[in-house]
């Protein structure tokens, strides 16, 4: 047998550096015009990191301003622009594309043993749309900024003199980027599964990516229409929302949340997907109740469409509230099912506390707090005092940052060796993970208390009684920021100084780990048969971290059989 086959080469460890997707072509053009899903994923990764850094620095200015009541650093109008752009950029430029477009782009085709996504040109287009949308956001900053809150509620947003139209056009374009990615992933997962991989043999993260992509395709157009209506109202005086022109401001809230609540699941579902991978890999064990975890992703996507009205509990009719409260609770069940299944997966596992797993455990605790505190907000009577307070701010940061961002970091550490062929520093990785966990809790836990004591959100100034909570929160934000910086430096310095990564450092049987680290331009050098992504008997310990895990005899036999089959087929064809 030739030695070009992936399965044998990865077992050797490789002496000379084979050509990979990073080295196969060079120059700016080879990146900006690439159709390689891996390169597009990395371009996304770089761009969203810039967006995250900018929006994160805004958060630090916000927290510094709030260290004492009264004006400290910035004026009220600057403050309002900061929290608006922090929210809008984190949501549209970072969290939504974060896990799917950056990491998903890289790993989804590889998990399927495929060369690329279904529509590589559409994939590149979606990246250009992201860049265009981001440019609109930056331009909006120069033309008066945006001070409406990321929720853009009229009539404030239709009467303010800030650059609403420009920002809204940016969000509109970003919406198309999101739809393009969604369509690509739906088709890729639906049509490009390898022979032998049915729906229930897919890695669990593919269920989550699939559910996410379906929401992106179905919900985002509603956002697009809503934003166009807002633009029409501002530029052409069409009175959809302003009562002075016969419109209804609450109508906007329904339209907006009809997208933006499902969007919350666009943000959290991919995180849940990667957590399923991390916990199984680092417990070196089959997930407990695969089918329940898989179906719960679908259930969350479906229920997620039916709960938007809980954002209007302090506005709409009691009957609507009763129904939306009930539907809101329905989402809690599949979320709880996931948490219990992840926990049980660890039972009798072989648990490694490598950096990605530290993030998965961190996610587990933070997401649990985020999910449980949602119960106070889904319950009508307790939501009324808590609505629009710091309690809500803390709740969604626990889900979006403690959940999605921590999962993103964990996933980044997990797939980093695959992406760049280098191992990061384990010690600093764990330090940063603990720092993020502590800093995060220090930042956001006091906000639950401040909220229940009556601290409303989006406040530039506050009553002195809330000072202590704000000060803890500000200190926490800097611990959090510092820890993220350590994580970033660790990953970046690994590109230069990191040890060479083996093909499979973690021991996952997933197909992406069959390819070399970093993978070649076409990912695999031969046709790859589908296999059970959680059959730990397919891998065995290679004896040292430099070799990592290697294919077991069982895996090699399966490959051999597949090769014979293909050879027989091609003979038959002749």
């Amino acid at each position: 047998m030739t030695s070009t086959s992936v399965i044998d080469k990865t077992a050797q460890g490789g002496d000379q550096e084979p050509e990979n997707f990073l080295t196969c072509a060079s120059g700016v053009k080879s990146w900006l015009g690439t159709l390689d899903h891996k390169r597009i994923g990395i371009m996304y990764l770089i761009c969203i990191t810039f967006a995250f850094t900018a929006a994160g620095l805004m958060a630090l200015v916000i927290r510094s301003e709030l260290f004492f009541p009264g004006e400290q650093l910035v004026s009220p109008s600057t403050y309002n622009q900061l929290f608006t752009l922090h929210g809008a950029m984190m949501v549209f430029l970072f969290i939504i594309p974060g896990i799917p477009a950056a990491l998903g782009n890289f790993v989804i085709p590889m998990m399927l043993g495929a060369k690329d996504v279904a529509f590589p040109k559409l994939n590149l287009t979606s990246w250009y749309l992201w860049v265009t949308g981001a440019i609109f956001f930056v331009c909006a900053l120069g033309f008066g900024g945006l001070d409406t809150g990321w929720t853009l509620y009229p009539p404030y947003s239709t009467t303010t003199s800030s650059a609403v139209v420009l920002s809204v056009l940016g969000a509109f374009i970003l919406g198309f980027s999101s739809i393009a990615t969604g369509i690509n992933f739906v088709v890729t997962i639906q049509k490009m599964r390898p022979e032998g991989m049915g729906w229930f043999q897919m890695p669990l993260s593919l269920w989550a990516f699939y559910a996410t992509a379906v929401i992106q395709v179905l919900a985002t157009p509603v956002l697009g229409i809503t934003l166009l209506m807002l633009i029409a109202e501002r530029t052409l005086d069409v009175g959809f929302f302003s009562p002075s022109m016969g419109g209804d401001p609450v109508l906007f809230q329904h339209f907006f949340w009809f997208y933006s609540h499902p969007a919350v699941y666009i943000m959290i579902l991919p995180a849940m997907g990667v957590i399923s991978e991390l916990i199984t890999t680092f417990s070196h064990k089959r997930p407990f109740s695969y089918s329940f975890i898989a179906y719960s992703s679908i259930a969350i996507a479906i229920f997620g469409f039916l709960v938007w009205g809980h954002h209007m509990f302090t506005t709409q009719s009691p009957v609507a509230n009763m129904i939306f409260s009930l539907l809101t609770f329905s989402v809690s069940i599949p979320s709880a099912v996931k948490v219990f299944n992840w926990l049980t997966t660890m039972y009798k596992g072989s648990i490694s506390l490598a950096t990605p797993m530290m993030h998965a455990l961190s996610f587990l605790l933070l997401f649990t707090i985020g999910g449980l505190t949602g119960l106070f907000l889904g319950t009508l009577a307790t939501d009324i005092p808590l609505h629009d307070t710091y309690f809500v701010v803390a709740h969604f940061h626990y889900v979006m940052m403690g959940g999605t961002f921590v999962a993103f970091l964990g996933a980044l550490y997990y797939w980093w060796p695959k992406m760049f062929g280098r191992m990061y520093n384990e010690f600093w990785g764990r330090i940063a993970a603990v720092g993020v966990f502590i800093g995060f809790n220090l930042t956001f836990f006091p906000q639950f208390i401040a909220g229940s004591q009556g601290m409303p959100r989006r406040y530039f100034d506050y009553l002195p009684q809330f000072t202590v909570y704000h000060q803890w929160s500000t200190v926490g934000a800097f611990v959090l920021g510092g820890s993220i910086l350590i994580a970033a430096l660790n990953l970046l310095s690994s590109l230069r100084n990191g040890a060479k990564a083996p093909a499979n450092p973690w021991g996952s049987p997933g197909l992406e780990w069959v390819a070399a680290s970093p993978p070649s331009h076409y990912n695999f050098d031969e046709d790859v048969p589908g296999r059970d992504p959680y059959d730990m008997e397919l891998v065995e310990w290679g004896g040292s971290p430099e070799v990592g895990y290697v294919p077991s005899a069982k895996a090699k036999a399966a490959f051999e059989e597949h090769r014979k089959k293909i050879a027989a087929q091609s003979r038959g064809a002749h």
């Binding site: 009220p76 001070d147 809150g149 209804d248 109740s289």
Partner: protein, 329 residues
Amino acid sequence: MGLLNIPSLPSMSALQPQDIWMPEQASTFAENVDWLFYGILYICIFFFVLVTALTVYFVVKYRRKSPMQETGGPTHNWFLEITWCAIPLAIVGWMWFEGFRGFMEMRSSPKGADALRVIVNAQKWSWDFTYPNGAMTQDLHVPANHKVVLSLNSLDVLHSFYVNTFRTKMDVVPGRINEIWFEPTMAGEFTLQCAEYCGDEHSRMRSKVIVHEDKAAFDTWLESYDPYKGLEPIAAGKLVFESKGCTQCHNVTGTNQIGPTLKGVIGREREFADGTKMVTDANYVRESVLDSKAKVVKGFDPVMPNYKGRISDKEIGFLIEYLTEVSKN
């Protein structure tokens, strides 16, 4: 205020849940809301401790000691799956029902004539309250142990009426009237805040709710309420200026804020957004108060609300005396 006001240890040991979570209970809703809040809180603590304890236990007990350590355990268990769907389902069912019941009480305005009705006008960035006898205040006055119905109006953008000690909140939406009711249970002063983002001074759009001992004390206050009684016109004008929300955007010190400074407003030439110029005088002030968009000073946004119907001629008279006084030097 000190850096990091950490409660000292002795006071922490005496802390009650209400010192950390929900504040004092000042309306009839509060007891029920808090009962439900703490019920959910204890359920959450139970599940969080369960998840954390199992996580820590598993991580310690099944910590990887060698790379190819044996693993075990079931991969599926119908009993467990059904149990951990059914128990949370029952618990959230209870939360939903109790939450809805408590909410319906908050949103069922009392029928019958004895409730005190107050009209609330919210605008960027102040509240005003109109009582049955036509009196207007900037703080909300209500009697203790008496039902109060508020009719909420917004004159510009979205606001939200939020009194946490009453555990109540309702959005104030332009173009529709939202009603809420409550019954205060103790006399005192409570904070009213705006909870829906409304622009630059959103965080300072707050007032007080002053709860009088009983209905009789409230009635006595209301009958004798005349904020300008015994004041010279200039002093009365200063009170108008400070109590009608003008100070949110204007001052008399000579520096421009969101609105132009009013020092010198009487007798100075100004340029307007449409390019015209005129010397502003008492009639200009009167027009701007009643119809704020008629002449907007160049360089400022037309964000000032109209005061037509919410300020009396007498008050405009006082205001002009005051502004004339501050424009002198």
